[in-house]
């Protein structure tokens, strides 16, 4: 649809360099027809919001175009996310709770090789293998256990990881503490970061852990 620019708003500003926007605007002015459509959704009658290809919107604005070609999509959140992913404005995420080692490797490689990435020095094979083989990966509620794997990913780098991974943790199985040995109970206490477990007897340990 050929819509008026004044009917369309851009919710979040765009990151593109001024040089690109201004120069592209010059190209657009000579042709006046944006062959690459802007993806919008209707928020009120005759009022639209950009959900994809915001770069084209910014260029059209700089070129002072009166009308632009748009595709009007529906207003669901899924469409919003899909459009941003297809337009390259958002990184698609994989489910770290269930991903295979190949998926983890591919995602990590993408993150490590991004220019200016915080994960620059991380050894891809080691990190991927240790994350994949972590025995309780499907129960992780957040990405913090990765810092304990000693694969070069520290707490400060977790945010960079969150760009490509999300989690759907399974509920943890209820443990029958009575059936475990003292050694296993002490290991569990150590895992959970509980202090003062080493001299305790079995009954005291069970109390500590419940």
């Amino acid at each position: 649809m050929h819509l008026y620019m004044i009917e369309i708003t851009l919710k979040e500003g765009i990151d593109a360099p001024e040089f690109l926007i201004k120069t592209a605007a010059q190209y657009l002015r000579s042709n006046n027809h944006n062959w690459v459509p802007i993806i919008v959704k209707e928020v009120e009658e005759d009022k639209y919001e950009v959900i994809g290809n915001s770069y084209v919107y910014a260029v059209a604005e700089a070129a002072k175009l009166e009308k632009v070609w748009c595709i009007i999509a529906d207003t669901t959140r899924e469409t919003d996310e899909l459009t941003k992913i297809l337009a390259g404005e958002k990184t698609p995420k994989i489910n770290l709770s269930t991903a295979t080692i190949d998926d983890i490797k591919a995602a990590l490689q993408y993150l490590i090789e991004k220019p200016g990435s915080f994960l620059k020095g991380v050894n891809l094979l080691i990190a991927a293998t240790r994350i994949d083989t972590a025995s309780d990966r499907k129960y992780w509620k957040n990405l913090e256990p990765i810092t304990k794997l000693k694969c070069g990913i520290t707490a400060s780098k977790l945010e960079a990881l969150a760009e490509a991974f999300y989690l759907t943790p399974e509920p943890e199985p209820v443990l029958d503490l009575q059936s475990l040995t003292v050694t296993q109970l002490k290991d569990l206490a150590k895992q959970r970061g509980i202090k003062g477990y080493s001299k305790k007897k079995k009954s005291a340990l069970i109390e500590l852990l419940s």
């Binding site: 080692i101 080691i126 293998t129």
Partner: protein, 444 residues
């Protein structure tokens, strides 16, 4: 006439897929031992729909109702599709079948069949490895019954080891190191492993594990045509003790000095080329993996090892053009010779990997350019050979992905040989690297 021969004879010569599917397949499945409740048509693998999924009958569960844990996946084509081996249509169908077999929902599937009622081929899946279990057979009234019997036997027998020959005609690429550490990491992962040292010139595998020679040496076993020598006497267990009384063990058939004494041509007079295969086939039910360390040079020992193998793993070095050229030669010349001899579709080469050299981006690009040239030259051979999937395992026309698995360079891997303990058991990073290798090629 037997039922399946009659059905095959009655098919029109240009039968479309629907006719093959509704007329030929029910009889084929019945002859293979599957009835209505064990056949699931149009099965959703979650990577696409495969024409049929089969599972042998189990008393507590009806496959047709639950649709879980298929054993065999079957992909049908019409007679208009040419399934002769090597045609573009054959490659498409096989690639499709492999995608289905490797989907997470079909982890339990261990067999795959393709057919268009003119050709029929059985594939076996072991972990992530899919290799032919028969050649691509041209079926007719005369042979269909025998072929189906062979397939039925294979499908219904319990799973056996994957026999892997680690080979490259070029020496020094790290065959023994790879074999030892693969065995170690697979054992740590709970698999039963047998390692065979078939390099009598170097005997490196035996010495690097510090294993002594068996009571009846390997030579006598190879000579023992009447099968009087119990195999247990030749096999030696290799055990590692860890902290807290944990131990890991894998079995070794060590090399022996007598194997080095004969001259090459004399071996071929004494031993048949498939003698090693005969011996190892008897051991297949006892293990998950049998790894054979082979010497460089294409002579009696390497040929025997490759003959005994289901698949061939080829280590190379990115900075050694000869290791790459020799890999290409092995794949396009030597392995097909063995396939001709065995006539069961095996062995097949696994995609090559780069083994243990520090690699800069520029060096890797140089290696890739050299590989591109090797692939181009092979296309001009007579007959032309497509080497591409053996070098770039993830290459598709759309992605043009020239990915090659790299085992990174790490000093502790070589250093471990001085201690007679595999690097994988001494160093966590070495363990991670070989675990990545195992997950790339073998384990799902």
């Amino acid at each position: 006439m037997i039922e399946i021969e009659a059905v095959l004879a009655n098919l029109p010569s240009n039968a479309q897929k629907s006719i093959v599917s509704t007329i030929f397949m029910p009889t084929l499945f019945k002859t293979l031992g599957f009835n209505e409740t064990t056949i699931f048509p149009n099965y959703n693998t979650e990577c696409g729909y495969v024409d049929f999924a089969l599972r042998p009958h189990q008393d507590n569960e009806i496959f047709l109702q639950t649709g879980t844990n298929p054993s065999v996946l079957v992909e049908i084509s019409g007679r208009n599709i040419n399934l002769r081996e090597g045609t573009a249509q054959y490659k498409t169908v096989v690639s499709q079948l492999k995608t289905y077999l490797l989907s997470p929902k079909c982890k339990s599937a261990t067999w795959g069949i393709i057919t268009n009622s003119c050709h029929l081929q059985l594939f076996r899946k072991h972990g992530k490895v899919i290799h032919p279990a028969t050649q691509c057979l041209e079926i007719s009234n005369n042979n269909i019954n025998d072929i189906v019997n062979i397939i039925r036997q294979k499908i219904h027998s319990p799973s056996t080891a994957l026999t892997v020959a680690i080979y490259n005609n070029k020496g020094g690429v790290g065959k023994t190191t790879t074999t030892v550490n693969l065995a170690a990491v697979l054992t740590a992962w709970g698999k039963r492993v047998l390692v065979v040292d078939f390099d009598p010139n170097q005997k490196d595998l035996t010495s690097c594990l510090g294993v002594s020679l068996g009571q009846n040496t390997f030579y006598e076993l190879l000579e023992d045509k009447k099968n009087l020598i119990p195999l247990e006497k030749v096999i030696k267990p290799y055990t590692i003790r860890f902290k807290r009384k944990k131990t890991l063990t894998f079995d070794v058939i060590p090399c022996d000095e007598k194997l080095e004494t004969q001259k090459e041509h004399e071996y071929l007079q004494i031993f048949k080329i498939n003698r090693l295969k005969q011996i190892l086939d008897k051991l297949k039910p006892n293990y998950d993996y049998i790894l054979i360390d082979s010497p460089p040079n294409w002579r009696f020992f390497s040929i025997s090892a490759t003959t005994a193998a289901d698949v061939v793993l080829i280590p190379t070095k990115h900075n050694d053009i000869f290791s790459l050229k020799n890999a290409a030669n092995t794949i396009k010349q030597y392995i097909p010779e063995v396939q001709e001899f065995k006539k069961d579709g095996t062995p097949i080469a696994l995609p090559i990997f780069w083994n243990g050299e520090k690699a800069t981006a520029a060096a890797k690009e140089q290696a890739r350019k050299a590989i591109d040239i090797i692939i181009e030259q092979a296309k001009k051979d007579n007959p032309p050979f497509d080497l591409l999937p053996y070098f770039y395992s993830r290459y598709t026309r759309d992605s043009q992905n020239r990915y090659i698995f790299e085992l990174p360079s790490y000093a502790n891997i070589a250093n471990a040989t001085f201690s007679q303990i595999p690097a994988v058991y001494r160093d966590k990073i070495a363990c991670d690297y070989y675990l990545a290798l195992v997950k790339e090629y073998f384990l799902q």
